[in-house]
């Protein structure tokens, strides 16, 4: 299958998955893949959007939200995830916070030949931290988001969903 044949991931499908999993708060920092999703989330009354200015902040905020009974999701880009390593370790993994991180996979090309080191190190980072992750490239993969929620709850660990559609135009 070539790149052009891959189905796109619609922001509506992502929002549906959030609704299905009773997400209450989106702790997020904009990335190059999520602008249309942002517009949809803004219009969704069941969601509170908590914007951060550095991705690591999202981890302790999500830990506090979860401790108080909310169901947060973290929405950031792979670059910020790598920046957030110690916060993920300390505020999510060591506290056993069952949260899903939806991570924009900047630089992903499907065929592994990329020009962006953000993509080069993304899965290496996840493997180094022993974080479970699922790749979502198109609408057909969207149910993997629910699988991630189920796994996070069952294992009491953060689970990552890599949103790998920048290359194909999640926003366009």
């Amino acid at each position: 299958m070539d790149d052009a044949a891959v189905a796109v991931l619609s922001p509506e499908a992502v929002l549906d998955e959030m609704r299905k999993n009773d997400v209450t708060d989106v702790v997020w920092l904009p990335d190059s893949e999520t602008n249309w999703l942002f517009l949809l989330m803004q219009a969704e009354p069941s969601l509170r959007l908590v914007g951060v200015s550095r991705e690591g902040h999202a981890c302790s905020i999500a830990a506090g939200l979860y401790s108080g009974g909310r169901t947060p999701i973290i929405l950031i880009q792979n670059t910020g995830m790598m920046e957030s390593g110690d916060s993920i370790r300390g505020w999510l993994m060591s506290l056993e916070i069952p949260v899903v991180l939806m991570v924009g996979y900047r630089g992903y090309t499907r065929h592994g030949v990329n020009k962006d080191t953000a993509a080069t190190y993304t899965e290496r980072f996840l493997n180094a931290f022993n974080l479970s992750y699922y790749l979502v490239e198109g609408d057909a993969d969207a149910p993997r988001i629910s699988i991630a929620f189920e796994e996070a709850e069952r294992t009491k660990k953060p689970v990552v969903v890599l949103i790998a559609d920048e290359f194909h135009g999640f926003n366009r």
Binding site: V50, G51, I61, S67, G68, G69, W91
Partner: protein, 194 residues
């Protein structure tokens, strides 16, 4: 300057059913608390995150006051957090800062520009509707009732004496009585959550 333990003693009568995140004051607060189940003595999961944790808790439980005792070393690592807090404006969030002008748990090295930073001004600039600063415990004691009568978010910067720890980490006596995961479980249990 004030002693951290005196700050916490002064605060204790006003605690009520508030959730308390004692931050770097944890080793003093844990032995004196009057409601352990509503405390979140997290120790130091990752430096710079206490403000986010307390803020997240405040968003989640708007019916309770949330009192955070942050430190300047922590908040310097995440100044941007103050902008997020100010944007969301949790009315139940009271953000105290214990400013000892140094990294006490690593031997007392000074934080950058330790003696010249105006944290209350930073909070005000970030958008906190109210930000205060105190050097003396008597002034704080006088104002505490008024602070808690006002809606949050309120930022309160306090100059405290450093309590420098210089022993090897392995030889320090832990002050925690619960693990961090037990703290989270206990908090959720207070709210009737699994």
């Amino acid at each position: 300057m004030m002693n951290t333990v005196d700050v916490l003693e002064a605060f204790k009568p006003y605690r009520g059913d508030a959730l308390v995140v004692p931050g770097r004051g944890g080793r003093h607060w844990v032995p004196m608390t009057n409601n352990e189940g509503l405390d979140a003595p997290m120790g130091d999961p990752a430096m710079g995150g206490h403000a986010g944790f307390g803020f997240g808790l405040a968003l989640a439980r708007p019916e309770r006051k949330v009192i955070l005792f942050d430190s300047e070393g922590d908040i310097l690592m995440s100044l941007g957090m103050m902008v997020t807090i100010a944007e969301q404006k949790p009315l139940n969030f009271y953000h105290f800062l214990l400013d000892n002008e140094c990294y006490a748990t690593t031997g007392g090295q000074p934080v950058p520009n330790a003696k010249n930073v105006d944290y209350a001004a930073i909070a005000k600039g970030a958008g906190y509707p109210k930000a205060l600063a105190y050097n003396e415990i008597e002034d704080l004691k006088n104002d505490l009732p008024g602070i808690f009568e006002n809606p949050g978010p309120i930022f309160v910067a306090l100059k405290v004496y450093p309590e420098v720890q210089n022993e090897a980490i392995g030889s320090r006596r832990p002050w925690q009585t619960r693990t961090r995961t037990e703290v989270i479980q206990d908090l959720r249990g207070e709210f009737g959550l699994a």
